[in-house]
């Protein structure tokens, strides 16, 4: 499948990647090259083949529904880009707010 410029712009938008106008055409060529190489998979008859989602055939384990972690609010908030806001500044692990720059418009 060969991708055109508009398709590349659409994928870039879906992927939330800014691609400058002048890069769309070269990128379309590159991605088309990769996809053309991938097309060889069509040689393989996969009718009635169950897709393999995971190589580990174990079923996801269950555990007892109990608290196993916590009380580390200071660590949780340490990387907050807007800084940490603590409910009780004298007890930082009592909880607080992870603040980020405004994302609602």
């Amino acid at each position: 499948m060969s991708l055109d410029k508009d398709t590349v712009a659409r994928i870039a938008r879906l992927a939330r990647l800014k691609v400058p106008e002048e890069e769309l055409v070269p990128l379309a060529g590159e991605l088309s090259g990769i996809l053309a190489w991938i097309e060889q998979l069509n040689e393989v008859d996969t009718a009635n083949v169950e897709p393999l989602a995971s190589v580990s055939d174990v079923t996801l384990p269950m555990r007892e529904d109990k608290v196993t972690d916590g009380g580390v609010a200071e660590k949780v908030l340490a990387n907050a880009p807007g800084g940490a806001v603590y409910i009780d500044p004298t007890d930082r692990n009592a909880g607080g707010f992870f603040t980020v720059p405004k994302v609602v418009e």
């Binding site: 870039a12 879906l14 691609v19 190489w37 998979l41 190589v55 555990r63 418009e105």
Partner: protein, 490 residues
Amino acid sequence: MAALTDLTLAELVQALAKKEASAVEVADAHLRKLDEHRALNAFITETPDKARDMAAASDTRRATGEAGLLEGVPLAIKDLFCTEGVQTTAASNILKGFVPQYESTVTTNLWKAGAVMVGKTNLDEFAMGSSNMTSHFGGVENPWKRRGDNRKLVPGGSSGGSAAAVAAFMVPGSTGTDTGGSIRQPAAFCGIVGLKPTYGRCSRWGVVAFSSSLDQPGPFARTVEDSAILLQAMSGHDPKDSTSAPLPVPDFAAAARNPDIRDLRVGIPKEYRVDGTSPEIVALWEQGIEMLKAAGAATVEVSLPHTKYALPAYYIVAPAECSSNLARYDGVRYGLRVPGKDLTEMYENTRAAGFGKEVRRRVMIGTYVLSAGYYDAYYKKAQQIRALIARDFRQAFEKCDVLLTPTAPTAAFAAGEKMDDPVTMYLNDMFTIPASMAGLPGISVPAGLDKDGLPLGLQLIGRAFDEETMLKAAAALEKAAAFAGRAAGY
């Protein structure tokens, strides 16, 4: 006694146990090597203070009679493992300056065993690459050079810094991660041992995710035994990773110390004889077959008919999973943020500035193959091919116990070569990706030098969760090949 930095990991453990050197002395000797070879750019972050503190704590433990499996052993950690209080970048601009508040399970296991961290190693950005050239922090130089040619060579990738650090004797061992060959291929390029365990053997918790159904941590070392010791310390069930296998950890080191392969059946997959492989590598593979035969193993030709489709199928599965995993880097909660006129433009600007070219390319491919209307044609098709690849291996393992193949189609190449076309670069992983797609363990063992004096590796692939048989065969191959090569000047 030989210089502390020349000892193998097993020898170093012995020297420390006999108190021939303290952990602090061992750490200092290796830190001097980091200073000496900084030009290789193997490390993104060096942690000398942390190393000395950890070494001093190790000496204290030993004085009180407590000694773990890796007590006092200095290690380098791929900068994809989260390390508490130490910057973790995944070699990406988008995570520059990110300091995790928690420690990955694999590194926690290593520190519990007494190991000492000297630093975080360079890699391809988000582990996407086969040359280490996609790192935001610059490429890594392979300690090896072609004879009579001063051009810098790549160490392979993505775990290029971890491989170069071991090959340059800066550390006796290091950690890597392998999604499609990112441990085995750099091990081959740098003349050392690299082991990708069975998917599920080592916990992925705290490892920056690239392709979650394929990613698997594993060790680099200079001997098979050393890689087995490291694997033993890294492995184990982890309730925090739902794909971590609830299995006991075998005595891997014991398997590596017992290279008796007289009852072993070694499979030679005929589909690995492909065009584009260097004739010297084909010849080395033949020698490897003869070596294992001479050690008493039986060899049998096997067929893995879907081998050629593993690579294109991988380039659907891995980008698809990467585009999902990397969606979290949005400029809001951590890492880089580039302003825009509205929220969407902020996301787009941040991700365009934060991700390098190869990562953007893979995110785009992944987004495309998962986009509405294309799922069945690409992702589902790739997963069906994956099922066929896994079935090929299952059938082959009815006739043999382990497979022997080359690790990579060529020796290390120069920085800048193979860069013009992404598919050319992808072909580097043609021999390592099939086992990744099936979740099987693989190990690259240095087995010889090419005409230019560069190391070449052979790969052994084992059954799922049978690293022990693979290690025995690897030890036998190592013994027979007697690779004693060392990069000049290191």
